[in-house]
Symmetry: C2
Subunit: 202 residues, 2 copies
């Protein structure tokens, strides 16, 4: 996406990064509306070719722009119990996902993906699955630590956790706030936690 090792990019890489920034700026200001190749080119003072030379479509540009700011924002350190760690990460990524740069770009990608199954697969693989996987890693460690019951289908649990949050973010109008995250974790721990229900640590 940045440069090719065979052909030396002269002004290429700098332009590429600038275009990503312009795309994010545009998204932060105008939202999903006004996100178009023409608009990015106009705003950057750039010919449309300079964009099409790098990305085959607006959707591809949006995906790269998203990668540019959404650098694996989920970083599960084992700081507290599994519940506290999940809670912190969910709240953190929820804040990022609903704030100007990322939110509108994510929406735009979702919209474009509805028309293009290849793009949808890319979106799923590059963002949704990534988030699920890091969540899965964290709860796998929790299972090994005895915090979760042994016979749990952790992959599906990770999907339910992340899917519910994405559902709220991208399809519903409800906010992803503390009560939502707490409710979700209540259900998760009630289903798979080894501590007794009614006993809510952390």
């Amino acid at each position: 996406m940045t440069d090719t090792p065979a052909t030396p990019r002269r002004r290429g890489a700098a332009r590429t990064e600038e275009l990503l920034r312009v795309t994010l700026d545009l998204a932060a200001e105008a939202g999903y509306a006004g996100l178009s190749v023409e608009a990015v080119a106009r705003r950057a003072g750039v010919g449309k070719h300079t964009i099409y030379r790098r990305w085959p479509s607006m959707a591809a540009l949006l995906l790269d722009a998203l990668s540019f700011v959404w650098v694996s924002d989920l970083d599960y350190r084992d700081a507290g119990g599994v519940r506290a760690d999940l809670r912190e990460q969910f709240l953190r990524s929820s804040r990022a996902l609903s704030s100007p740069p990322i939110g509108p770009v994510y929406r735009a990608v979702i919209a474009e993906a509805q028309a293009d199954s290849t793009l949808r697969a890319t979106l799923h693989e590059r963002f949704l699955v990534t988030v699920e996987r890091s969540t899965l890693d964290r709860i796998t460690r929790a299972q090994r630590a005895g915090e979760l019951v042994a016979e749990t289908n952790l992959e599906f649990a990770a999907e339910v956790l992340c899917g519910t949050l994405y559902y709220r973010h991208l399809l519903s109008t409800r906010p992803v706030d503390e009560s939502a995250v707490d409710g979700l974790l209540d259900m998760f721990m009630a289903a798979y936690g080894t501590s007794r229900p009614g006993d809510v640590p952390d």
Copy 2:
């Protein structure tokens, strides 16, 4: 009788219903691509005014078209236990949601909704919340029947159930099949069921 085979130029309500059908046909054949006011007008042999006189935008048409075939497909009868009932309904609506007429139209609405928060609210209220509510009703009855533990936040549980399925349908590339529904219900019953295998209630 307006059965003249030449040009039965219908008016009013007849035209409205015909336009909804044409929209669904178009979606079933061409999918999300090719869903436009122009395309519907062309296909129906109709002036664009005839469409704009009825719906303010393509998105509104799509919402009505969706209502036209998605007539509260969730009908929870209390046939078996809560798990069996949920399972049946989830599988049934999943089949409907992924088949030609409804699937593409739903995708189109999702895409349009990303650009219009009013539309997104309408979509949420008219479809997502409706499904959640009928699910909530069923599990509320289950709670009264003693199948679910008393202190459960049922509203949130209904959202998690429906949200996970919608996440799979509309954002991921995984199919909503029996194993997905079973996995989801496993988690739900493990969290809130009163007869939990391997666990000692109370």
